[in-house]
Structures are given as structure tokens and as C-alpha cells.
């Protein structure tokens, strides 16, 4: 198999796509929710969070999309469980940098397992697949009522 493809579709991504974590999981007591949509490809994502005292106690998502967007949402929910909202915001910023800047940032290890997604950077049409979950997270944390889109 072509190396470029392996670089994009890392084993971890394929695993999370086949068996997404926190998928179709709506935590009891969920008090934040946002809907994300990528009009270009039709990927849709609903994110539920239970936030108490500034901590993301639990979260889950629902929806459909390509392997990149499902894996990204799965990895994100896994990474954020138990994190403080502030930490989540920091991670958002780091992921944004990781996925959208041309050069790989020096401190990629900061994002841990999430770094498997960095392969999308060279596929401009696919970056939005990876960022959809993160934009939806932002909307949920800030509780904007508008559905978020990647546009």
C-alpha cells in the first residue's frame, strides 16, 4: 500500500473509525450539546457533554462521516474525558495548529495520541473532516445556539 495513504490512515485512525469510542453515547445529565455540519461533504456530528464545576465529566457523540472525522471525534472524546474546560480549550488550540499549519509544530507530543491526525495537513480537502469535532466542541463549550459548520 502506498506510503502516503498509510501516513494518512494510520492504524489508530482505522481502529477508531471501525470502533469509535463514546459513539452513540449520550451521557446522563448531559448539559451541553452542539451540532456540527460540514456542508461540503455532509458530515454531521452531535456532541454531548456533562460539564460540572468546570470539568468535563463525560461526553459522547453521534452522527456520520468519513474515517477521518469519525476517528477525530472518537479520539477527541477519549482525550477530553475528565479534563478541565480550560485544558480542553488549550487542546483545541494545539489541535488547530497541528491540523492547519504547514509545518508540524515542534511540540506535537503535547497532544499525545491525537498526533496521529497530523497526516491530514497535506490534504487541504480533508482538514475540515478532522477539525469538525473540535469546532463542535468549541460551540458546545461556549453554548452558541447556532449549529456550527466548518465554513
Amino acid at each position: 500500500m502506498n506510503n502516503m495513504l498509510r501516513e494518512l490512515y494510520q492504524e489508530t485512525i482505522l481502529d477508531h473509525n471501525r470502533h469509535p469510542h463514546n459513539y452513540q453515547h449520550k451521557p446522563t445529565g448531559a448539559n451541553r450539546c452542539a451540532h456540527g455540519y460540514n456542508p461540503i461533504c455532509g458530515d454531521e456530528l452531535t456532541l454531548y457533554l456533562t460539564v460540572e464545576n468546570g470539568v468535563i465529566e463525560d461526553l459522547g457523540f453521534d452522527g456520520h462521516g468519513c474515517a477521518i472525522s469519525i476517528a477525530s471525534a472518537s479520539l477527541m472524546t477519549e482525550a477530553l474525558k475528565g479534563k478541565q474546560v480550560e485544558e480542553a480549550e488549550q487542546l483545541f488550540n494545539k489541535m488547530h495548529e497541528l491540523l492547519t499549519t504547514e509545518q508540524s509544530p515542534a511540540n506535537v507530543s503535547d497532544v499525545g495520541k491525537l498526533k496521529v491526525l497530523q497526516g491530514v495537513r497535506i490534504y487541504p480537502m480533508r482538514v475540515k473532516c478532522a477539525t469538525l469535532a473540535w469546532h463542535t466542541l468549541q460551540a458546545a463549550l461556549h453554548q452558541t445556539d447556532e449549529p456550527v459548520t466548518t465554513e
Binding site: 500500500m1 495513504l5 455532509g42 474515517a67
Partner: protein
């Protein structure tokens, strides 16, 4: 290039490929297999050279200057109109309006034909397989006038539900707008029958011919359609140029769509009078080189012969349909009896975008998504499809590579 009448199997596809310089390149280490022709097709040297020649030797504004270049440009521009007229067998050059593309042609009819006609409660009829460009202009005009939009359903194989079509046509119907060939399903609609039916009820018909013109021999007089819209870029011509064909008596009665230069006879601040057809609908400086390029594309198609192109594409469609059906877990969306060389499909457990990315890595260009037909995609009960669409320069080898690529995508992602 000089083609002779050829036997079915001797379509000179390799020779034709050499007419399209863009095809001769490597993508991600593989020869390009361009299978996204329903989105836009590539351009032969004849078209590229015609545009080049226009800008190098003949370019000036049309219908204005009293000088050599303007005369040459005008002659070439009007010659292109004449080529379009002959290509679709329109009765008069006055019925050939240069527009930007199918989208603009449909908007023009919606605003200049339908809008003045529509009363609250009147009905516009479209079908479930329309491109957004044959949905949204009608929604806009319905909002403006209080008319209603009715949608004719399709059956499981992707053909129009003719019974529903018949029951939709009534004395409130003002216009039927439908596609000749579906850009997602490939279905070729029985538009002759449909137009006859609509006319029995006194309903005008607009045909969206964006997908049909590059594949079929067209005769708008035989069809008896009232309007026919198509784009240059899907028929090997430039983008930014397209055609609205309309019956002269309808066009004569319609108000202009855009106001500006070229479309007037006299202008005063009190009142302007409009130019004759077709210029009444061509406000402003047109896409001169684009029209000339479109004319060159038509010459090119005529040289090869539309019937031979259609036969070649039919063979590709049959070959692809059989080969794809062999892939486990793959379902072709759109199995109409009359079909053009467009194959949309879904594969269990793999998202079309991932399929398209894998194929791209193997040098194969396809389209993945909703193909600007979101209502249809929803109707089909899928999220998106992958679409391979074939043109006169495609080969069965390329289809073999598509099949191998899909097997790779399955191995990687399923």
C-alpha cells in the same frame, strides 16, 4: 484529425487521448485516470488553440468597434452561435442565448419567463433527481410569487414515477423543469414523452441538458422543448460559457434578465428599448473567447461524430457496471434501463470521501459527496455516493484500475 466512419470496436480512443494534453500526466506516481467528467470534462487541443488564437490574433470587444479586430471577434463569436444552433438543431440563431452556464440559463427562465406569469397557488413541477441549479431558482421564484413547487418522485431503480408525473400536471401547473440526464444516477429521462404530455396540458417545459449535451445527439425541434439549458465546460469547452435555448415566440415575449450594454436599442433616462433577440438577453461584454472555444468544442465533437461517442461511452458504462457489480459490498445507486455513462455507488462501511482519497493516491479522479443534489441523496437513503463518470477519452483499462483501487480501499478501510 480526420475520422472515417468506424466500426463499433474501432473507436480511436488512443488517438483521441492525444488530443487532450492534460491526460498525459502522472498523479501521485500513476498515470492520471480522469473519471470525473460529469463535474467537468477536459479540453482538446482544438479548444485550447481556438482560445489561444482568439487572444493572440483576433481579440476585441464584439458588436461595438468599427475596426478590424472587433469585426473579426464579432464574426467568430457569431459563428460560434451558429455552430451551437446547428449542433442542437434550433430553428434560428435568435434562439441561442449565450449565458455563463446551465445555472444562469435556468435562473434566466425562472425570472424572465416564470416570474411574470406566476400567480399565488400556481405550480412549478420539478423532479426528485434535480441538481441544485434546477431546484433553487424555482424556490426563489415561488417565494417571490406565492407559487408552489411540486416534486415528482423516482422509483427504486432511479427512474421517474410517470404515474405521479401525470397526476401532478393540472390546470395550476405553469412550468415543468426537469433534467435530461441525472448527474447522480445517470438516468436518461424519457423527455420526448414527458414534453408531449406536458404540452397536452399547455405546460411549458425546461430541460436541464447539462449532462446530456456531451453524450447524445440533440434536436431541440424534434424534442419540442420550450427551453433547453447547458454548459460549455461539460462538453469539452471552456467554463464560464453556456447556452439557453428557448423557442423564439417565448423569448420574444420575455422581459430582459439583466440590464446593461449590448441588450439595448436606445437608452434615455425616461425609457430604454431593448435589442432584438438574442442580444436582449446578453447584457454586458460576453465571454467572447469562451463562446469561440465552445464553437471549437462543437466542431471537435462533430468531427468524431456524436453517435460514435455515445456508442463508446455505452460500452464503457456496460463494462463498468459489470465490473463494479463484482465487488462485494458495492451497490450501484441508479439502475435505470436507459442510462448514460455515470455510475454512482456506495460500499458498505466505507465513506465515499475515504474512497476518493484512496483513488486519488492511485491517480484516479472521481467525485465523492452529494453532487449538488442533496434532496436526491437523502431520497436514496445514503449520506453520499462515489461517482465515476466516463467521457469519450476514457478506456476500459482505466475502469480496471478503478476496480483495483476500490479493492485496495476496501482492504485498507473496511
Amino acid at each position: 484529425m480526420n475520422f472515417h466512419p468506424m466500426a463499433e470496436t474501432s473507436f480511436p480512443v488512443q488517438q483521441i487521448r492525444r488530443d487532450f494534453p492534460i491526460l498525459d500526466q502522472m498523479i501521485n506516481g500513476y498515470p492520471l485516470a480522469y473519471l470525473d467528467n460529469a463535474a467537468s470534462s477536459q479540453k482538446p487541443l482544438a479548444v485550447i488553440s481556438a482560445i489561444d488564437h482568439c487572444y493572440r490574433h483576433d481579440y476585441a470587444n464584439v458588436h461595438r468597434g468599427i475596426h478590424a479586430l472587433s469585426e473579426r471577434s464579432t464574426a467568430a463569436f457569431e459563428a460560434a452561435r451558429h455552430k451551437v444552433q446547428t449542433f442542437i438543431n434550433a430553428a434560428s440563431e435568435k434562439e441561442i442565448i449565450f449565458v455563463r452556464g446551465t445555472t444562469e440559463a435556468i435562473n434566466l427562465v425562472a425570472q424572465s419567463y416564470a416570474r411574470p406569469l406566476l400567480q399565488p397557488g400556481d405550480e412549478i413541477i420539478i423532479t426528485a433527481m434535480e441538481h441544485h441549479s434546477n431546484i433553487v431558482p424555482w424556490q426563489l421564484v415561488c417565494e417571490q410569487t406565492g407559487a408552489k413547487l411540486k416534486v415528482v418522485a423516482i422509483n427504486e431503480v432511479g427512474e421517474l414515477d410517470m404515474e405521479q408525473m401525470i397526476s401532478c400536471l393540472n390546470d395550476r401547473s405553469r412550468l415543468l423543469a426537469l433534467t435530461h440526464i441525472s448527474n447522480v444516477l445517470g438516468t436518461i429521462n424519457p423527455i420526448v414523452d414527458i414534453i408531449t404530455l406536458a404540452h397536452k396540458h399547455g405546460i411549458a417545459v425546461l430541460v436541464d441538458g447539462a449532462q446530456a449535451v456531451p453524450h447524445l445527439t440533440l434536436d431541440v425541434q424534434a424534442l419540442d422543448c420550450d427551453f433547453y439549458a447547458f454548459s460549455g465546460h461539460k462538453m469539452y469547452g471552456p467554463s464560464g460559457i453556456g447556452i439557453l435555448y428557448g423557442k423564439r415566440e417565448l423569448l420574444e415575449d420575455m422581459p430582459p434578465y439583466h440590464g446593461g450594454g449590448q441588450m439595448i436599442q436606445t437608452v434615455s433616462f425616461e425609457k430604454s428599448t431593448y435589442a432584438e433577440l438574442p442580444h436582449k438577453f446578453e447584457a454586458g461584454t460576453p465571454h467572447i473567447a469562451g463562446a469561440i472555444g465552445l464553437g471549437a468544442a462543437i466542431d471537435y465533437l462533430n468531427e468524431i461524430g456524436m453517435q460514435f461517442i455515445a456508442a463508446h461511452e455505452d460500452r464503457l458504462l456496460d463494462y463498468a457496471s459489470e465490473a463494479l457489480a463484482e465487488i462485494k459490498g458495492l451497490r450501484i445507486t441508479g439502475q435505470a434501463k436507459a442510462k448514460s455513462s455515470i455510475v454512482s455507488f456506495v460500499i458498505d462501511g466505507i465513506h465515499p470521501h475515504d474512497i476518493a482519497t484512496v483513488l486519488d493516491q492511485l491517480g484516479i479522479a472521481v467525485r465523492a459527496g452529494h453532487h449538488c443534489a442533496m434532496p436526491l441523496i437523502k431520497y436514496l437513503g445514503v449520506i453520499a455516493t462515489t461517482r465515476a463518470s466516463f467521457a469519450l477519452y476514457n478506456t476500459t483499462d482505466e475502469i480496471d484500475r478503478l476496480v483495483q483501487g476500490l479493492e485496495k480501499a476496501k482492504a485498507l478501510l473496511a
